[in-house]
């Protein structure tokens, strides 16, 4: 039974006088509460990191030697004010796509690459323009490029797609980003391992399969997660390539 003395609300009738003050307080608390929650949740967002498309650099065009890891790299031999000779750039196409079809025929050849730089710390990637405007062979003999083995390593960290990590998306790491990263990897974007500790001065390593193959599909399940994994590391210019063994995946202790 309802209380005789309590006001009785009927939606299509005027608000009972005894409820007005109460409902005013509830309304103020509701509106103020939502504003407070919106503010708190909004300012609680973590820093997405310093990666970004460097549109401020303008279109960058350099010449170098194309290498396949199997993911394509360009070892810059003739740079510019922004990209010095000796720099190694990972290459990607527009969106979540690779440039493999254009790069494979040019492996080991001197080529000109052109596009927009993505940069995060020591990680540099070039998103190429379409067709031959983005990648084409040039006259000349390709200088010999060195590869320095750095031995076998067991690393703790996270597998990401190199493009989102480099700044195509902010944030571009973590489990909430896993599906997006997988879609990039399916599209052929170079994968990158973010090591919790620097390896020979770099926390970002291009990660591949153990025998120079593409990242094994079994490792897609571990994208975005904090894992340990073993493999051989080699230096190609200023990029480290991590040839990871998918059987060695573990959980950090």
């Amino acid at each position: 039974m309802s209380n005789r003395n309590s006001p009785f609300f009927v939606g299509y009738l005027p608000l009972p006088a005894g409820l007005r003050q109460w409902l005013l307080v509830v309304c103020v608390l509701f509106i103020g509460g939502l504003a407070g929650v919106g503010l708190t949740m909004g300012v609680a967002q973590d820093d997405p990191g310093p990666g970004a498309f460097r549109f401020d650099y303008g279109r960058q065009t350099v010449t170098g030697v194309i290498e396949l890891t199997p993911y394509p790299l360009v070892r810059v031999t003739e740079g510019n004010d922004r990209i010095m000779p000796g720099t190694t750039l990972m290459l990607s196409g527009q969106g979540k796509s690779s440039v493999d079809q254009r790069a494979v025929p040019l492996e080991g050849q001197l080529s000109q690459v052109s596009g927009v730089v993505l940069q995060r710390g020591t990680l540099n990637m070039l998103q190429l323009r379409g067709g031959a405007n983005g990648l084409s062979a040039v006259e000349g003999v390709a200088p010999e490029q060195s590869t320095e083995p750095l031995g076998r390593w067991r690393l703790a960290g996270e597998i990401c797609d190199g493009k989102c990590l480099a700044g195509a998306m902010r944030p571009g790491t973590g489990l909430a980003h896993k599906a997006c990263a997988n879609l990039c990897l399916i599209g052929g974007v170079p994968p990158v391992f973010v090591s919790s500790q620097p390896v020979d001065g770099s926390e970002f390593l291009l990660i591949t399969g153990p025998d120079g193959s593409a990242l094994p599909k079994s490792l897609y399940d571990h994208v975005g997660a904090y894992i340990t994994i073993e493999g051989d590391v080699e230096r190609r210019g200023d990029v480290l390539v991590f040839r990871a063994d998918p059987e060695s995946v573990g959980v950090p202790g």
């Binding site: 039974m1 309802s2 209380n3 005789r4 309590s6 009785f8 609300f9 009927v10 939606g11 299509y12 009738l13 005027p14 608000l15 409820l19 409902l23 509830v26 309304c27 509701f30 509106i31 509460g33 939502l34 504003a35 929650v37 919106g38 503010l39 708190t40 949740m41 909004g42 300012v43 609680a44 967002q45 973590d46 820093d47 997405p48 990191g49 310093p50 990666g51 527009q94 969106g95 979540k96 796509s97 700044g167 998306m169 902010r170 944030p171 489990l175 909430a176 980003h177 896993k178 599906a179 997006c180 997988n182 879609l183 990039c184 399916i186 599209g187 399940d221 571990h222 994208v223 975005g224």
Partner: protein
């Protein structure tokens, strides 16, 4: 109450309800979308698409949390009943906010590839065999589909079309949907959080929903114990002296049905406690203009026959009463909805 179906039967209280709701939601989104980017001291800003997706996702979760708190709050304190009145508008608004969240996510994370973005949403992460990295998107998809179904069927037309019991069961899907949202957040953004302010608010909101429902359930259980009746064929309701004109005594019958026994103009009549609209507790209502008025949405019934006044067509079952000395007794066999029953005068010895 409605006798014909129009999109919304507006009244002043609905306008006020929606205005307050929109003010709260609008302020939440305005602050999250426009003010927090200025406050965040990041070297590089979060992508606007991600920021927007988070704003609408956080807002949808907060709205669902508030909506699910209203029911138990109203059971615990009837001063919250006005918040129940137009709750369906709150729910429909939540769907639009949740859809906006989903649109930002799909158009950002799942775009820019050669695959269809909706197909990519389903195939890009298939790690269903593990907890870390589980495709939390499926929880969001399920919750969104449920919200769309609930919003689409929220109108009274659908309640009539499906029948109130079926409609009610369909709308209980809000609970699995909310749990699914909790899983969506827990397996998603919560895994990456470094700043735990969001975690505290999220867990606090979800726990509040659970606790309030538990408290309301315990109160209902205690109330049911108090309402339980004794007897053989007829069951005691109360002594005649305990009735107040215009108010009801509610009793829980052995068959699980609740009966509301009203005293009106010195005579007693009994109807089902469950409103034909949304099972609102008629026994907690009032007699207004000689009609029992449901405390949830104001549906009205003539207590003598369980019928809504013309031109309305809602009906509830009636019950037979009799007096044994000064004790009012009820026959637990309900009459078909809308069956007239002669009221029992408090002075009469027996009536059927």
């Amino acid at each position: 109450m409605s006798v014909k179906y129009i999109p919304v039967q507006w009244n002043r209280n609905k306008w006020l309800y929606d205005a307050v709701m929109l003010a709260g939601v609008g302020l939440f989104l305005y602050i999250f979308l426009n003010l927090t980017p200025e406050i965040l001291d990041h070297e590089r800003a979060i992508n606007p698409q991600v920021h927007n997706a988070r704003a609408f996702g956080a807002c949808a979760f907060t709205m669902m949390t508030v909506i699910l708190c209203i029911g138990p709050l109203a059971r615990l304190d009837d001063r919250f009943l006005p918040l129940l009145y137009n709750r369906r508008h709150f729910g429909v608004m939540t769907v639009f906010v949740a859809l906006t969240h989903a649109a930002y996510i799909v158009d950002w994370y799942f775009a820019f590839s050669r695959s269809n973005k909706y197909e990519a949403l389903l195939f890009s992460n298939t790690s269903y065999g593990q907890l870390v990295g589980f495709p939390f998107e499926v929880f969001g998809i399920f919750a969104l589909l449920v919200l769309i179904i609930l919003a689409t069927t929220s109108h009274d037309f659908w309640m009539k079309f499906l029948s109130p019991p079926v409609w009610k069961r369909v709308h209980y899907l809000i609970y699995p949907a909310y749990l699914s949202v909790v899983a969506h957040v827990s397996f998603g953004i919560l895994q990456d959080q470094q700043n735990h302010a969001f975690t505290v608010l999220f867990v606090g909101g979800a726990v509040s929903v659970g606790l309030l429902h538990l408290m309301a359930a315990l109160k209902e259980r205690q109330r049911d114990r108090d309402l339980a009746v004794d007897g053989a064929d007829w069951f005691d309701v109360a002594d005649a002296s305990e009735f107040e004109d215009g108010f009801a005594k509610v009793r829980l019958l052995p068959n699980g049905e609740r009966v509301a026994v009203y005293l009106m103009d010195g005579k007693l009549s009994a109807i089902s406690n469950a409103c034909a609209h949304q099972n609102g507790p008629l026994g907690e209502g009032r007699v207004i203009s000689c009609l029992v008025t449901c405390p949830w949405h104001g549906f009205q019934y003539d207590v003598r026959n369980g019928q809504s006044p013309a031109p309305f067509t809602e009906k509830v079952p009636t019950y037979n009463l009799r007096m044994r000395g000064t004790t009012v007794q009820v026959d637990p066999q309900a009459n078909p909805p809308g069956t007239p029953v002669d009221p029992v005068s408090l002075g009469m010895k027996e009536a059927t």
